[in-house]
Symmetry: C2
Subunit: 263 residues, 2 copies
């Protein structure tokens, strides 16, 4: 399980201002902190970038790249920004992401094919709604997989995001269990060891009690790892959650690590 | 995943003295504390009971039963003590346990068959050694399963313990990963949803740094749950680990529980 930082989001006021002013320092400080904390990749969540999509994404990618050599995930629904980000990236990056929504199929899928990038595919209905259970998610996975193949995306470039929902939703716990099932079943369904990603922060979005939020993340994260999750998108600056992530990573793959490295 | 307390062990000096003096109070206090903490079963680990096996196990079972109605697991290698415990139990109890060791096949297997109890089966070689990997554990599982069937034990009475080893062992991390694999594969291998149990304390036995020990347990426990473990044998009086156990239990089964119950 690779740990991807979700900390570089433009919804953070300080980063929004930095991007507007083209001030690289706050982004670079954040990127370095994420790397120090153990991130193995950084998600650049630029928001939709209605204004100056190309120049702003280019600025963000260049700023972060000057601070770290970690691989980047370009996270926006704006295809112009994605393309600009791809061009600015010095090492292969990942597009985040595709879904069955018509605009995304029309604009993001061809981009991934043309640039031969890795591509995060969300298990959402064409109207952007979240499927109610694992069976429906698996149906969507088959559909989006076929769309990818038809567009010339190699299977090993596909990364499926089964879409976590907040636990505070009425069926939040049920959905959390269904997501674990989806992660377990997907490789068998698609017939190859397809990679998967999940955004841990979604699980506790809107939760008010910090202790409860932390507890839910700490318990669910290793379950995702044990289910076979390939990449966890998370707040790597949460000291306790990242320690759990690093520890359960030791338990979830062949490695040269030893017990001495727990902690 | 059911939570079983491993706290009632005679290796705890206070309990050893209480048993020797037939003083029920310390056992009862401990049993009540375990129930309050969320235990759904109590393992009575009496040790081998070289002296007075029958009377001492009877005393322990009666003492604990007077304090709680939780189901009991009788945990000793002494068949005389097991038999006495079975007779003293008012509700069905579980024998812990069988292995391919000849003495256990000769004495514990017939006892489980005669009293139609649930039976924990350890995946150990006939000489008591621990198999080196998941493949060997699965071979042992097939052998012990056949022994159980031949003795008239119904499959749904079998509980497999894949045997966790300390992380401090040279191959400790590897073995921890192999145990997760065994838990995942066993139901498919045996062709029915066989129950499994694991002793979490084994994982960190001998570890000196309490923070590191806690971290390893908190990360590994939800992975066991996600792998499909049926019962976790653990120190339920460790406040932080039990919170994680209760939380990941919410994520690992159909239930009426909701997010509000996290914590």
């Amino acid at each position: 399980m690779r740990i991807i930082a979700d900390n570089l989001r433009i919804t953070q006021k300080a980063l929004e201002i930095a991007v507007a002013k083209e001030d690289a320092a706050p982004l670079q400080t954040m990127a370095k902190q994420c790397e120090m904390a153990g991130a193995e990749g950084i998600d650049i969540n630029s928001g939709p970038l209605y204004h100056h999509p190309e120049s702003r994404m280019t600025f963000m990618v260049e700023a972060v790249q000057d601070a770290t050599h970690l691989p980047l995930i370009l996270d926006t629904s704006n295809p112009k920004a994605l393309k600009a980000g791809l061009i600015a990236c010095k090492i292969p990056s990942t597009l985040n992401g595709l879904s069955l929504e018509p605009a995304k199929l029309a604009h993001i899928l061809p981009l991934a094919a043309e640039y031969r990038t890795d591509l995060v595919c969300y298990l959402l209905y064409p109207n952007g709604h979240i499927p109610p259970d694992s069976m429906e998610r698996l149906n969507v996975a088959l559909l989006i997989y076929q769309k990818c193949l038809a567009a010339g995306i190699e299977p090993d470039r596909i990364i499926i995001d089964p879409v976590l929902v907040p636990l505070s939703w009425q069926d939040g716990l049920f959905q959390a269990r269904e997501v674990l099932n989806v992660i377990k079943i997907l490789p068998e369904l698609l017939g190859f060891p397809v990679r998967t990603i999940a955004g841990l922060s979604n699980l506790t979005a809107g939760a008010k009690d910090p202790a409860k939020k932390q507890l839910a993340e700490k318990a669910y994260l290793p379950m995702l790892a044990a289910a076979g999750l390939s990449m966890i998108l998370m707040n790597v600056l949460n000291a306790e959650t990242i320690r759990v992530a690093r520890t359960c990573r030791l338990f979830s793959r062949e490695s040269i690590f030893t017990w001495e490295m727990v902690g």
